[in-house]
């Protein structure tokens, strides 16, 4: 009881000073601007910054106006054309031979569909940002009017700048990181998702058009084609099997090893931990390429076993489907267990020792102690870690691509037996140029991940009460 009331108290005190999670909306919203705005505020709707100029916020007003002018110039010059082409189909123009004014044959520049798609999407993107900027402008317009009316003075440029390094420092702080995420994460994603609705494949590498949900139908049906429901389901099933084994085998075996090292009577604990963490320090692509070489049918392992006379023909590490699947899971143990040991050791040491002592007095054996003390504690603490590892394994491109390359690949299929959704996506796009179905696979991968992790994230304690311990 005492702790709760103390908690409430701290919470109250913080609400006053820093503000709790909820932020009350400011009195200057777009809606209010239209309800209570005067003529300048209304006109700001069309002429950006007019209201600010009218209240002597000269620099701010000019900045708003400048952004509007820039956008209009952009739209007139290229933007509207780009959007028009985006809507009217993406076909573009092919290069053909024409004669110029001197009668010399020249090639006209061809306009490729990818370029049209990219510039069109960028224009839409800028327009969306501009619309958001319009709401900023409207709010600023009404804010200037409101402050002028209530306090008789709208803050000038210097005051605004001061506010931007203090009260609203998040605006200046988040500007560059958010811009980076917008341009290099969100824009590419929108671009790629839009490809899922086009005919951008290796038959139409430079000129393609919108096809609606055709590609989704291709992936989800069995009407011929290289990419079909059958392949998709088998890759999806293997992806989930792989993620399950890769996550839980690593977790339990890594925890077991960490416990063996943690035993009271094991000497040289740091030495053993060092030995296992050495493999983390070697770049993953190096160790995976080396493993791939060693397990080749002419590789070191096969040669050694043959020269010892243990086997007569090379072991089919990457040529037999079952062998390949087991091999990638086992090699992934080699890659992953050191990480688990690193993560788990500290948590294991935090389990109160008296729990074990009490259990020992009650005559619990090793297995009972593990099941009733270690496991519940570990699961409680490491659930978020397990979710991240699971999603990481669904997206584990490196291990599969560098180790098996998706081999063995049946003739006539686009996906190998060890291909995950993500390596299949890579092969479809980068290697084969089938960007449209690749994008569809990407969207499905996202759905699988979102369903698995969003539910678990939202239910995990750390998301629900973020400030629980402060």
């Amino acid at each position: 009881m005492a702790t709760t009331s103390k908690h409430v108290e701290t919470k109250k005190r913080k609400t006053k000073k820093v503000g709790a999670d909820y932020v009350a909306p400011a009195p200057w919203t777009v809606k209010h601007a239209f309800q209570h705005g005067d003529v300048f505020t209304y006109l700001s709707c069309v002429i950006f910054g007019l209201s600010n100029l009218a209240r002597k916020q000269i620099v701010k007003g000019i900045l708003f106006l400048a952004v509007e002018a820039l956008y209009i110039m952009y739209m007139v010059n290229t933007g509207s054309v780009a959007i028009g082409k985006l809507i009217s189909g993406l076909y573009g123009t092919e290069s053909k031979q024409v004669f110029n004014s001197y009668g010399i044959p020249v090639q006209t520049a061809e306009e490729r569909s990818v370029t049209i798609l990219l510039y069109g999407i960028m224009a839409v993107f800028f327009t969306a940002i501009f619309i958001w900027f319009w709401t900023v402008n409207m709010r600023a317009a009404y804010k200037a009017q409101y402050l002028k009316q209530t306090t008789g003075h709208a803050p000038g440029f210097v005051e605004d700048v001061k506010d931007l390094v203090d009260g609203r420092a998040y605006v200046t702080m988040l500007f560059l990181p958010a811009a980076g995420i917008l341009i290099f994460t969100i824009l590419p994603l929108i671009f790629m998702i839009s490809m899922a609705f086009t005919s951008f494949d290796n038959n139409h590498p430079s000129h393609f058009s919108w096809v609606g949900f055709e590609n989704f139908k291709t992936v989800l049906s069995n009407n011929g084609g290289q990419v079909n429901l059958h392949t998709f389901l088998s890759v999806l099933a293997w992806t989930l099997v792989w993620a399950f084994f890769a996550t839980f085998l690593n977790y339990f075996l890594g925890m077991f090893l960490a416990m063996v090292i943690n035993r009271k009577t094991t000497k040289l604990k740091n030495f053993w931990r060092g030995v296992f963490s050495m493999s983390i320090a070697v770049p993953q692509f190096v160790s995976l390429l080396v493993m791939n070489q060693m397990l080749d049918s002419n590789g070191a392992v096969n040669r050694l076993l043959q020269s010892w006379g243990w086997i007569s023909s090379p072991l089919p590490f990457f040529t037999n489907a079952t062998w390949a699947r087991v091999t990638v899971i086992v090699i992934n143990l080699w890659v992953g267990i050191p990480f688990t040991i690193m993560q788990v050791t500290g948590i294991l040491q935090n389990i109160p020792a008296d729990l074990y002592e009490a259990a020992e007095l009650d005559g619990a054996n090793w297995w009972q102690q593990f099941r009733n003390i270690t496991m519940p504690y570990m699961i409680f603490v490491t659930t978020p870690y397990l979710i991240t590892t699971f999603t990481g394994n669904v997206n584990n491109f490196n291990v599969i691509y560098l180790l098996s390359g998706g081999q063995p690949q049946p003739v006539g299929s686009t996906a190998g037996k060890t291909d995950l959704l993500i390596t299949w996506l890579y092969k479809l796009t980068v290697d084969q140029g089938n960007y449209n179905v690749g994008a569809v696979i990407g969207i499905f991968t996202f759905i699988v991940l979102a369903v698995v992790s969003l539910i678990t994230y939202r239910n995990s304690g750390s998301y629900k009460n973020e400030e629980g311990f402060r």
Partner: protein, 301 residues
């Protein structure tokens, strides 16, 4: 049954019990040492093999013996001096430059975003955190092609501009990786901020005068993570660098194992792997120390 018999029975039982526990412990000790010994050989063997192979006088792949029979230092010399086919030295330098920039930018971005999310309350905060969470669920490979087209439209995919392109690609999205740093900042008491602001500090001043010094272990961790990214990444680099004079170290090493190169470059691949691994290994050990330190929280005792 007399009480004497009972107590004798207890002592007997206890005696065998202790005896049993002792032998069982010894057996468990022996078993765990055998297990650790065998496993550590499995974990060390590939690393030792690469190290020894890098000194192999016989440079061809697929040899009869597991370990080399004759040793030489030539592979290292050739790796850096024989630049006619593949210029490993310049790849190394290029990766180093990229890594330095990415390190600086990513630390700045992560710190700024984490500070805003941990310390300030504004309306866009929760949506921002949810958007970042959802973005993280899109497979990263999906955007590789699109990023290439965008960089091409910016004119950054030809010649040495790829260095700028790679710096942008590796660092632009790093702001999304703020969760760990935010968790660390959450453990710093807000009373520190409040005291500083009473003394007249602005939010920016609180950020660089109070929060930054306390976050030192996490900053080191983040800096090393940022620095390592260009050395370890393979996919992005492969999509963006189309000719060999634009390659980073990871691509160069990968190239050495392709069919056209492997017969001559196998031993030099091992040498290159060692050259790349040693600095990374050192940084990694430093990082691990700071990682553990930061896991312990900001305020000790």
């Amino acid at each position: 049954m007399s009480s004497k018999d009972v107590s004798a029975g207890y002592t007997e039982k206890a005696g065998t019990g202790i005896h049993n526990a002792h032998t069982r412990r010894v057996i468990a000790d022996v078993l765990s040492y055998i297990l650790l010994g065998v496993l550590s050989i499995i974990w060390i063997l590939p690393i030792v093999w690469v190290f020894l192979e890098s000194f192999n006088k016989n440079t061809a792949p697929y040899q009869a013996t597991f370990f080399p029979t004759q040793y030489t230092f030539d592979n290292y010399k050739q790796l850096f001096t024989d630049t006619s086919v593949m210029n490993f030295g310049s790849m190394f330098l290029r990766t180093f430059i990229i890594a330095c920039f990415v390190c600086l930018i990513s630390v700045a971005f992560v710190l700024l975003v984490a500070y805003c999310m941990s310390r300030m309350r504004f309306r866009f905060r929760k949506p921002f955190m949810n958007i970042v969470l959802v973005l993280g669920m899109f497979p990263s490979i999906m955007s590789v092609v699109a990023v290439y087209f965008i960089l091409k439209a910016m004119g950054l995919t030809s010649g040495n501009w790829t260095v700028v392109a790679l710096i942008l690609v590796y660092s632009a999205g790093t702001g999304a990786g703020f969760y760990m740093m935010k968790g660390y900042m959450d453990t710093i008491p807000t009373s520190l901020d409040e005291a500083a602001m009473l003394d007249g500090c602005t939010r920016w001043q609180v950020f660089y005068k109070i929060i930054l010094p306390i976050c030192r272990p996490m900053i080191v961790y983040q800096a090393i993570t940022g620095f390592l990214a260009p050395w370890l990444d393979f996919v992005m680099a492969k999509a963006i660098c189309r000719t060999q004079d634009q390659y980073t170290v990871a691509l160069g090493l990968w190239q050495m194992l392709q069919k056209e190169y492997i017969t001559n470059w196998y031993a030099r691949f091992a040498a290159g792997a060692v050259v790349v691994s040693i600095p990374i290994a050192i940084l990694f050990m430093v990082m691990q120390r700071f990682y553990q330190e930061s896991m312990a929280g900001s305020v000790k005792g």
